[in-house]
Symmetry: C3
């Protein structure tokens, strides 16, 4: 037993600690094809080399969310193996597209700690960076999780709560080098709606739904080398259910949002995210979006749009929280992100 990884407990973290996550991963056309098999992914920039090249990129990149899941998956053994809950995301930015042939690895730094008043657990804040084989940061984000203490007598660390931006300012978004939407082909992209057609406050019902199967969410989660037991082992929870990786719901919702947001091509910022309720096999995931903000960018023909993406298991649209301020039981995901769209 001593040889296996028992995961870190709350008392094992310290401010400024750097965690070098294991198992670098080279991606290929295989991962791209799998993303299309696991999700109803249809954004043209991630489907066609020709479309991507017409947009100024060298080739069609790996879907941003696939890159996110790969970077995230590596952090699980070091950050969330003993997590009680994944509390939130923030300050996420996508800095470089990931292409077939790239090798990704992840590094995290502990940027905040707060022991809970019950003394049994605490909140750990980490800033995670995904790096490619040239040591360029391809994406970064902050995540905070509640982690159990093993030794209840371990002293509480000094409380440090990082001062996180509520949203990534539009000026801080990084546009991929060369991106140019002035020759954008709306027919091939699938919808005619451009940046100017979306209004702040507008709500879009994405209509389509997918009923989740055990085999599929396990395959998706495994593909990102996320090994948290609770997703795979039906004997782990007393109810015999496998909890679905929250990232599976993110990708399902983001790809379903094609229908109405086909031109929200690239994800460049992750402002906030909450997994509102657990998702299980048999749930039918649908989603809706709300336009939260819009901004111009310096790239030709490229606008930024800030979207709230809400995944549900009850098909509701436009409803998020109850009178008590808590998420409604049918809500699975509340994600706030920036995407790039042709002007």
């Amino acid at each position: 037993m001593a040889k296996t990884n028992a995961g870190r407990f709350f008392e094992d973290y310290s401010l400024g600690q750097v965690l070098t996550h294991a198992v670098p991963r080279t991606v290929s056309g295989g991962e791209r094809a799998l993303y299309h098999m696991l999700y109803p992914a249809r954004h043209a920039l991630y489907s066609s080399d020709v479309f991507a090249q017409a947009s100024g990129l060298p080739a069609s990149p790996l879907d941003d969310m696939a890159a996110f899941h790969i970077v995230f998956g590596k952090t699980v053994p070091d950050v969330s193996l003993n997590a009680v809950a994944n509390l939130g995301y923030g300050e996420g930015r996508f800095l470089k597209p990931v292409y077939p042939g790239d090798t990704l690895r992840s590094v995290s730094e502990v940027i905040g700690l707060k022991q809970n008043s019950n003394g049994k657990s605490g909140v750990v804040y980490v800033r995670t960076r995904g790096l490619n084989q040239r040591d360029e940061t391809v994406l970064e984000y902050v995540r905070w999780v509640m982690v159990r203490k093993k030794d209840l007598d371990a002293p509480a660390p000094e409380t440090v709560i990082p001062d996180l931006a509520k949203t990534v300012p539009a000026a801080d978004l990084v546009i991929p080098e060369g991106l140019d939407f002035t020759g954008y082909d709306f027919d091939l992209a699938g919808e005619a709606h451009r940046w100017g057609d979306y209004e702040i406050g507008e709500i879009i019902d994405h209509v389509d739904g997918v009923t989740i199967e055990e085999a599929e969410h396990m395959q998706a989660t495994r593909l990102w080398q996320n090994t948290a037991k609770v997703h795979f082992d039906a004997t782990f929870r007393p109810d015999g259910q496998r909890l679905i990786y929250g990232g599976h719901v993110i990708s399902m919702a983001r790809t379903l949002s094609f229908n109405g947001l086909a031109n929200a091509q690239m994800v460049v910022g992750l402002n906030a995210g909450a997994h509102a309720n657990p998702c299980f096999s048999g749930d039918t995931v649908k989603c809706w979006s709300e336009v939260l903000d819009k901004a111009e960018t310096s790239a030709p023909g490229v606008g930024a749009i800030r979207l709230r993406l809400v995944a549900t298991k009850d098909g509701s649209v436009g409803e998020l929280k109850g009178e008590n301020g808590k998420y409604l039981p049918g809500v699975l995901l509340d994600l706030d992100y920036w995407a790039l769209m042709p002007l």
Copy 2:
């Protein structure tokens, strides 16, 4: 809701209308590997670069049926989102093999229209072409579907029923450039039976069967970016069942037919096709073939064979229609195609 695609209704089609389908797709070794995971695909030409090169091709192409599904999938949002039924296929030809690295897109032309006597729906005939990044047509076929009217008061269009060939004449089949079966290795291909060993009228029981799972048919259908709700959303039909994409049955049957037709390597013509009965998860698909015709070709060592491929869910062999002329309830698919085989 206004931003999402509600699909075209019968009154939205007009003769000669050209539909530029969205979401071009670059294929890689990933799609090839997935075809081998999703189906019991063993035709050597689609499995081995070395075998393909010994047959005069530059490399092992993507399975013809995978290319067909990719081209077909793109047409769904424009042609069959509001379809009541997929009525038939015809005049299908495979003109160029598709290789990893190719980018496919689809274009359709409306070639026929006929409103039904009930005034509530009509039949739309489209000729669809799949094109690669060099604007070469890689395959083409005609499909006709029954589509609902939304506005029942819309005037009926002039009835035009295209004059379709009952089968593709052997002389019109396009043999891939360079194809040469004179050095064909029957041991590596898996069977000794050559073109001359098959007799018109012969019936082959392919013996093997596969029981279908929800996860698998959804993954296959999604891989081709076919987004018809009825395949994915268990809440869509009153009976809670997900209807299986007919193309999944086509590929399952075609690959199962390896056992007895291992040398029917390339599909070059699609004469006719009917999805006789719906297929659901839990059905066990088996199949049998009937040799319908044979023809010589101009390529060295290459003969053409016309086959009826019948998929069943009851394991029956050789039975197709009842006394009333309707397909028997155990029949899923009746497909009439041309393949190339070593002489």
Copy 3:
């Protein structure tokens, strides 16, 4: 029916017979990605080109077990279609890593035959070699299976039982050319335990478990072009269950053993293997390992470790056989192999 392969029966084998197995296969990044989707595969050498290159290899190879399954799958139509039982493996060696772009085929030689005393079946021993496109042997192993007789009156062959080594001697293990672990990065590999940290007799509980789904084991088995009916057709067995391919349990266990054996990077020898009990969908596979032996190698920084890998469906650890000498009912797999580990 005459066109389909009915498989060989015991009387169809003869000593020295060479079986050229069909359907060569070119692998790509697709097969690599799929291995990561189907199994919790995290060994760094098979995940990252950069890590593999730092270890002296040209790129990250296809997982050894994936190569084994591809070679094995090709033998099924010729060796085990009418097999009653897969009795054992031995003398397995991995001689060359397999890289994307390689084309594999398989050849077997019958090296032993023994008719059973009941006259209804017999044991066939074959030595199988997997070859690449340069006709280099990439791996080889001996397998023996019990095969039914079709013609009970066929004369019994002379009994020849090959003299198989109980284990592959460490001196006969082939270390991939160039392999060098002197610069091994234990952080990126995921664990700090090196060759010197493991003691003969030590038992490692790998803790993690995966509950098996029908869709997943069928996909894995199909990916290796293994077409044995019993894995796919729910109507084949009276109990309506699909028997899971033993190789699926091997790969599941080997990849789960990452947790505790993250540095047992390359499999180079297969000493023995037994599928102790059948595995079905719904079983939760866990595993444990026992260190059986250790040896030095001539490669810089590289040690060899001999491991017993036991997969279970009841989570038991350290228990293998009952007082009657038979495998306990919760044991699925007992595999004895050599792996390479940094000193």
